[in-house]
Structure formats: C-alpha cells, structure tokens
Amino acid sequence: MSDSTPHGFHSTGADGPAIGQDEWVARHADVRFLPARFAVVERRLRVVSWWAWLTLFVGLFCLFPIVETSGYVRQVAFQTVLYMLLALGLNVVVGWGGLLDLGYVAFYGIGAYAYALLDSPHYGIHLPTIVSVPVIVLIGALAGLVLGLPSWRLTGDYLAIVTLFFLQLFQTVTTNWQNVTGGPFGILNIDAFGLPGGHKLKTEHGGVFAVSYLYVALAIFVVVFVALRLLNNSRTGRAWRSLREDPLAAEAMGMPVNWLKLLAFSCGAAVAALTGTLNAALFGNVFPLNFYFITLITIYTMVILGGSGNQAGVVLGALIISPLLELLRDADKSRVLFFVALFGGLAILGRRNRRIAMVAGATLVFGFVLHAIARAIDGGWVAGQPGAGGFATFVDHWVIAPQQPARWIAPVAYIGVIVAALLCSVLRGIVRDIALVPTIYLGAFVWENVMLSKPDPARYIVLGLILIVLMVLRPNGLLGERRVEIV
C-alpha cells in the first residue's frame, strides 16, 4: 500500500541531510540505512498494488468482530478506525501539503459539535443523517478554508502558532458559551445515525457495543482512503508535493500556491469533521476536552510514527498507537507490555549484536541479585507486588517494589532514570554498555512503582517520548520517505 508516486529527496541516512543529492543514489543509500530485512519486506510488499492491500486490510477488519465478541474490544476497534480517519486527514495537511496545522482537532470538534446541535434534543432539531452529515462535512471544509487563509501570509512556525490559537479559541468558546455548547458539561443524548426508513442505527445491543458502527466507520474509511489516494495521484497531489518541497519554486513554476494550501487545509478539515459526526453519533455526547491538546498530540504521534506523507504509514501508526493507549490504561496489561517490549526489543537487537545480548543478560542477573539483597536486608522492600500469575511472578522476583514507598522515591527515581537514559545516549563503547544495565533496571523499577498506578499521565508520557525519540532518530517514521531541506 505504499505510495507509487515519485519519491522526494533522500539523505544518506545516519549522517543527516544531504544537499542536492541524486535521487537514485539517495534512495539506495536510504535503503542501506534501514535494517536490511525491513527493506526487503517493504520491497516485496510494494509488488502488490495498494487497492489489493486495502481490500485485504478492510476484509480482515470486517472479520474482526466475528472473532472478538467483547463489546469493549469492539469499541476500541471503532476508536482505532476513527483515529485512522483522523490520521488520514492530518496526513493531507502535514504529510502532503507540508503545513503544520496544530488546529486540526478543532475541526474534529466542529464536526462533533455541529452534529450535536443538528441532531439532538438540545435545540430539538433532528435532521435526517443523510442531510446533516454532508452539511457538516461542508461546514468542516469551509472552516478549513477559513483557517487556511492565514497560510497565505504566514509560513512555518507562525502558521503553526496561529492554528494553535484557533484550537485555543475553539476550546474557549466551547467551554464558556454555555447556552449553545453546554459549556464543560457538554451536550448529551445526541441522536444515533438514522437510516432512510426512519430507524435509528442502534449504538448498543443489550448493553454491548453495536458492530454496525464499526462497519459504518470502516465504509467511510474506505471511501476517504480511496478518495484521498486518487486525489494524491492526480495533478493536485503532485502540486501539493511541489508545494511541500519548496513553496517558492512551486510558485515560480506557476502553481497556484495559495489555493493549494487552502485545498489541503480544507480536505483535512472535511475528513476531521466527518469523523467528528461518527464520534458524536456513537458516544451520544460531546465535551470540550475531547477535542484538545491530548487528542492533537495523539494524532500527530500516529502520523509521525507511521511516516507522514504515506497513507499506509499513517494508518499503521493509528493501528499501533490507538490500541497501545488502551492497553496502557490497565496495570496488568501495561506491565506485560512493558516487559515484553523491553526484553523482546533487547532480544531482537541482541540477535545481531552480541553486546546488546550481553547487556540484556547482565540486566536480568543484576535484577535478581539486587532483589535478593533487598529481600535479605528488609522484606518490606520487595513486598509491594500485586497479584500473581505467570508474568507477575517473574516481575515479583525481579523488580524491587517497596510496600509503602517513601514520598521522595518516585520523583528521585523518575528523574534519575531520565538523567541516566540521557547520559547513556551520550556515552559510547563499553562504558555505555555498563551504564545501560542499571538504567534499564531503574526504568523497570519506575514503570512498576511510579507509572503503573497512574495510567493517565503515564500513557501520555509514553506518547511524548515516542514523538521526541522518533523525531531525533527516525523523523520519517516507519514507512515515510526521508526528506531533506533543500538549501
């Protein structure tokens, strides 16, 4: 499903950007920069065309509710589709247009609030879905046009901040204009989607999430994906890329740069507004805080992780991040996830790198020894473990967990692990390998004792970390193209 369109500039990889490099050379250099296996897989995948992958993906997704009957899991799947849609929309603005739009979530909110006002007892208006949804998409597109206007005069950071102010304005208005938006208490009892015959598409059957919404969302996803795909492969798509790579040159070549920017904003906003209606119709309520900074960062992480500019990539990003955020809500799953990711990662890296394998082994031993020492000195230091079961038993014997940790332990350990990790990234050679062992153990200690008990900040911390680490190590994400600023 990767882009079949011409590739932009690539760099030589780890050494940073290259200026004016030949495209072919650059692409091969980039392939070399990737782990070899990954590049082979990617090339194999490219043989099959994108619509075949799309059909396969959506087909599997459709089968999912048959396998999984839990209403909660189905709802997570629905949310994932929503995030996939949002990521697709943001990808138009950021990935294709190269415009940093920090007001994107406001359009999501505008869609949801518009649906809430047009189809709820709040004003007693109950427009048929077939009318209200297109109207809302149009409203979203128009709002996108309006927000796109500043991009005529402003670029880069200035544009980013103006769009962020737009989000803040949206937030201020929805929180304070109580007569219309219900203020912080939101709008409740919003109608479900209506079918032409006058029936309502039920949101739940006997208290369990109704699968029909998952299918509706998937159908919309397919339509949006294909529409945007075709748009990107058209003249407009090529013009967007030229705009992204160098607005000045594009303008000099006679591209209607201003209109292209507006079109990008508007397409993104329309998709976001459409997703907003889905959100409002299923959950039946809207609150201002659903459409704020956290959601914005979540969508950005998805787009960046997957690879901005690559449709398949951003969908993949949403597929990873959305379930991840759900898993991190729960302490037990969160613990398993952390240790599987930690040792799984070390094992995969260690297969090709003996030093990492040794670090992993040393960390394991280090943990058991430290745990034994702590237990010998004072049993209370290791008594704070919850539960039992296969995985918890291992953790129980490995990580120190004080029963009633002193108040200073959490901040000291947390700041300590950050400082240690940063130091490790500076050190080189054997010193780093030795420093890594206690650092990893301290990380596990912090995860177990500080972060598990407070899932909400903890999962957002993970998001922020993913964003920073990605930008530093691999700004093109999993599937994206590495881009170079042309000087």
């Binding site: 950071d157 103006v162 102010f165 304005l169 960062i297 500080v450 909400d456 900040p457 998001l463 881009r483």
Partner: protein, 314 residues
Amino acid sequence: MDQFIQLTVDGLTLGSVYALIALGYTLVYGVLKLLNFAHGDVFMVGTFVGFGVLQVLGGPANPKVPIWLVITLVTLAAMAVCAALGVAIERFAYRPLRDAPRIAPLISALGVSFFLANSMQLLFGATPRNYDLFQYHTGTLYLRGLHIGGVTVPLLRIITIVAAFILMVILWFLVNKTRTGKAMRATSFDREAAAMMGIDIDRVIVFTFILGSALAGAAGVMFSLRVPTNVSIGFIAGLKGFIAAVIGGIGSIPGAMAGGLILGFLESYIQGYVHGAHIPDGTQWSDLYVFSVLIALMLFRHQGLFGRPDIRKV
C-alpha cells in the same frame, strides 16, 4: 479611578511575568529560528521548584530564614533548575534536529512540552499548589505597601515588578555589553557567517537556553506569588508569552519587554472593564479577546511592533 490604579498595578505585575516568558521565546527564536513550544512547561516546572523550596524553607508563614532571603532563594533555585532543564532539552531534543526540515524540531518541541506536563502530573498530581501569599511573614508583605489614593499596592507586587525590571536590566547588559552577548547577536543575525568567523555556535545556543529558561524560572516564581499554580498551567502561560513576544516583534528583546507589558495591561483592563469578560467561576472570556487580537496581529503585522520584516532571499 481607584479601579484604574488597581488594574494598572495588576497589569504591570502580570505584564512583567509575561515579559520574562516572552524574553525566553524571543532569545531562542532569535538565535535558532525555533519556536520553543516547551518553554511554557519549563516555566511550569519553575513554579513547582519554587513551591518545593518554599516548603523546605519552612513555608511562608514561619520561615527558617529571613523572608527576603526566602524569596531570593526560591527564585534562584527555580532559575537554576529551569536553566539546567533548558540546556537538557536543547541538547537532547533540538540539537540533533538542527539541520532537519523546520517542521521536525517543532514537532519535537510539542513532544517535549507534552512530556514535561505529564511527567509533572505523574510525580506531583493535578492539585493546585498555593504559595499562600497572604501568609508571607504573617501578612506583612501582602497587607502593607504603598497607598495610592484609596488603593493599597502590596509590597509583594512591588517586589515582583522591581525584580522583573532588575532581571531585564541584567539581560540587557549580558546581551549588549559582553563578548558572549555579542556572539549571540552575531549568531542571531547570520548563523553560518558567525560560525565562519569562529564563533562557537553550540556554546552560544546553550547560553541562550540558559538565559531564556532561567528567566522562565524567575517568571514562574513571580507568577505563583500572584495566583496558585498547577501542572497544566504551562500551555496557556506559554501561549501568552508567545503572544507577548509576537506583539513586540519576535527576536527583539525590547520588543518582548514592551509586548509583555502591553499584553498584561490589555488583559487586566479587559477583565476589569469589558462587561462579562470575567466570569466568577474562573473561566475567562478575556482569553478570547487576547487570542483574537493576536490572530489579527499575526495576519496584518506579524513582524510586531519592534521587529523587522523578514526578507526572503531566493
């Protein structure tokens, strides 16, 4: 008239806080051409460090050392921690991206901001922290002060304003009268040319982050001497500081000072005079006016009052 004086003093206090935040934005933008989204959260960390040190020193009511020393120590501690934080952020989140496309450090900065805010929430919770300003040395600093007409201007406000002024003078001196300051100005003017002239760009940038973040720490303490602080304050404070920087012309140091004061007065007068701008439950419509003014300003004069229009060379 009394209300006017009251609002002016309030605007001046608020404005000096905004000016200090704005200076951090302006300094970093001038040197790196980077919008440091994380700056507001550095400020927030400063408010918390100040609170922590205040508790260690025995709290405002019965401090272990003289009250003037308490305020000095609290401010210095916040400045030091924030400076260290700023250096770390620059070293690990921005420096690897210095030559990447301009969108990259911006996204990294968003990540840092999100990370800092949530880390603070993880460690210290979402409850507001109050410096208990009425308690300062059992009220002396707050209840006494200058009498202008029928209004009492608390001593604490005067200290805040004077301290902000002193910091700005020190900054002006550092930037205009020292060698490092000269290097900073040169880097800001043209980074590549400065590097070719033998200026150590990395050092200049680190120095800039130290200055900017230390000012944010001081601003944090001054802010919390006014109202309680909490972990989510960084976002709005950062936006306001940025507005102040833009009003004055981003990259311009006197501009940031003027912009901060203008914004402070604007907010104070809007809250005082525009009907319904300040709703008792704490939600503020005044933000709406402030943000609208900013968007208009950005569109029609984004170089601000003191800034130069940027000329693109092709």
